[in-house]
């Protein structure tokens, strides 16, 4: 299997990442699809602004503000990288999840079997419940 293509068409512009050179195993593909379905359900919740899901070969972005996709993507990447740095400093092991609370919104970022997920939500949203639903 050499090619993957995913997209979500809600009220946001889907971002599709194709790479003919990269390959994924059936298990990875299954995990990605499973996460994608869970996220699509979570996206319907009140207070959820959107999400970013990316694996080594694919990415799905569904956000209320498509014009800010780049900002969200950069933040998502930075949050996971910096969190892993902090985790390494204090020998906390692999980062399971990160909750970043802003003054207006919050984000839940995690890495599940190499799939990097960021879910953006309003401050009132129940991130603990979302975490429970998305966790394997």
């Amino acid at each position: 299997m050499v090619k993957k293509k995913h997209s979500t068409l809600e009220n946001a512009s889907p971002l599709i990442v194709d790479d003919d050179e990269l390959a994924v195993t059936p298990e990875e593909d299954e995990t990605y699809m499973d996460l994608s379905n869970k996220l699509a359900e979570i996206r319907k919740d009140n207070g959820v602004i959107g999400y970013i899901l990316r694996s080594t070969t694919s990415a799905t972005i569904d956000l209320k503000e498509p014009e800010k996709i780049v900002e969200y993507a950069i933040f998502s990447s930075q949050a996971l990288d910096s969190s892993q740095e902090i985790s390494d400093l204090y020998e906390l092991g692999d980062v399971k999840n990160v909750i970043i609370e802003g003054k207006e919104r919050k984000a839940l970022c995690m890495d599940i079997y190499g799939n990097k997920i960021s879910i953006f939500m309003e401050k009132t949203a129940d991130h603990a419940d979302i975490l429970k639903r998305i966790s394997p």
Binding site: Y72, Q78, I86, S87, L92, K96, G102, E104, R105
Partner: protein, 292 residues
């Protein structure tokens, strides 16, 4: 306020948190990118690297409307960086730690200590210095103190002699210079049974005139009489005045001369002292006697 004051209080608080929660391995507090306090187990290098990583997230957190807190859950433990009263507390704990307990403890203790330091510090400064205390002007205050020391050097010499003679020649200046070197502690040690100085609320009124001393306020005779009755033969040469905003000063006092001003609950204050206290006519201040 000087960060050193926060540092002292917060460092002890961090240590206590770790004593109470042994699962908390590292703690430190920073503000505006500067480390205010850290525990003994965390190296500066680690702290700086943590700050760099945190700042990297902060820079990109505009879409969240600024950053309040970050919680990183790792397989072996968790890191939490939370904003409290403009200070950021970092807590690293093992996976055995009770997250709710640690969060409850830190989020109550640290803000409480910060608030306490903010409240206590101005009052202490007022006691320690000869001149008026503005909490945010702690450093310039030191220079003023040095100047004051020079100016009253002669008085200090007199004071030493006076002390040796066991106050045979008590004067107002004696009390003033004595406070500068040994504010209150010796007195507390030798006179442990003195009652707490009563605090009286008074309204500021202007005191002006050609021969009015700029370092003396005028207070109701009734109030002064109460103080004298309370402290008997103890000398009360000065009063400590505090504004509602926490600014304090010490100065000499006399009773109000004009009978029409008596019993009105006012304190007649020269312009110089009003400026020092950043107060004005009509404002409320608290006054208590400085018992020698």
């Amino acid at each position: 306020m000087n960060n050193e004051v926060y540092s002292f209080a917060l460092k002890n608080t961090l240590q206590e948190i770790q004593n109470i929660c042994p699962d908390v391995s590292n703690t430190f507090i920073f503000k505006d990118g500067q480390v205010i306090a850290q525990d003994e187990t965390t190296s500066k290098k680690i702290v700086n690297q943590t700050l760099d990583a945190f700042n990297a997230i902060t820079e990109k957190a505009g879409i969240l409307g600024g950053l309040n807190a970050v919680t990183i859950q790792g397989t072996n433990g968790q890191a939490n960086i939370a904003c409290m009263n403009d200070f950021y507390l970092t807590t690293i704990s093992s996976k055995e730690a009770d997250e709710k307990y640690v969060n409850t403890l830190t989020r109550i203790l640290i803000p409480t200590v910060i608030r306490l330091v903010e409240k206590i510090h101005p009052a202490q400064s007022g006691d320690e210095t000869l001149t008026t205390v503005a909490p945010e002007l702690a450093e310039p205050e030191l220079e003023e103190d040095e100047t004051a020391e020079d100016e009253v050097a002669e008085e200090i010499t007199d004071q030493t002699e006076d002390e040796e003679e066991e106050n045979e020649l008590p004067e107002e200046e004696t009390a003033t210079t004595e406070d500068e070197e040994e504010p209150f502690e010796p007195e507390i040690d030798t006179e442990p049974l003195l009652p707490e100085p009563p605090v009286t609320q008074l309204i500021v009124e202007n005191l002006s005139g050609f021969r009015v001393p700029s370092d003396t306020v005028r207070i109701d005779q009734e109030v002064i009489t109460q103080w004298n009755e309370l402290y008997g033969d103890k000398k009360i040469n000065e009063v400590k005045i505090e504004t509602l905003s926490g600014k304090t000063t010490r100065c000499k006092f006399k009773h109000i001369k004009k009978s029409k001003d008596a019993g009105k609950g006012i304190i007649k204050m020269p312009e110089k002292i009003q400026l020092t206290l950043e107060t004005s006519q009509g404002a409320l201040v608290t006054v208590k006697p400085v018992v020698e």
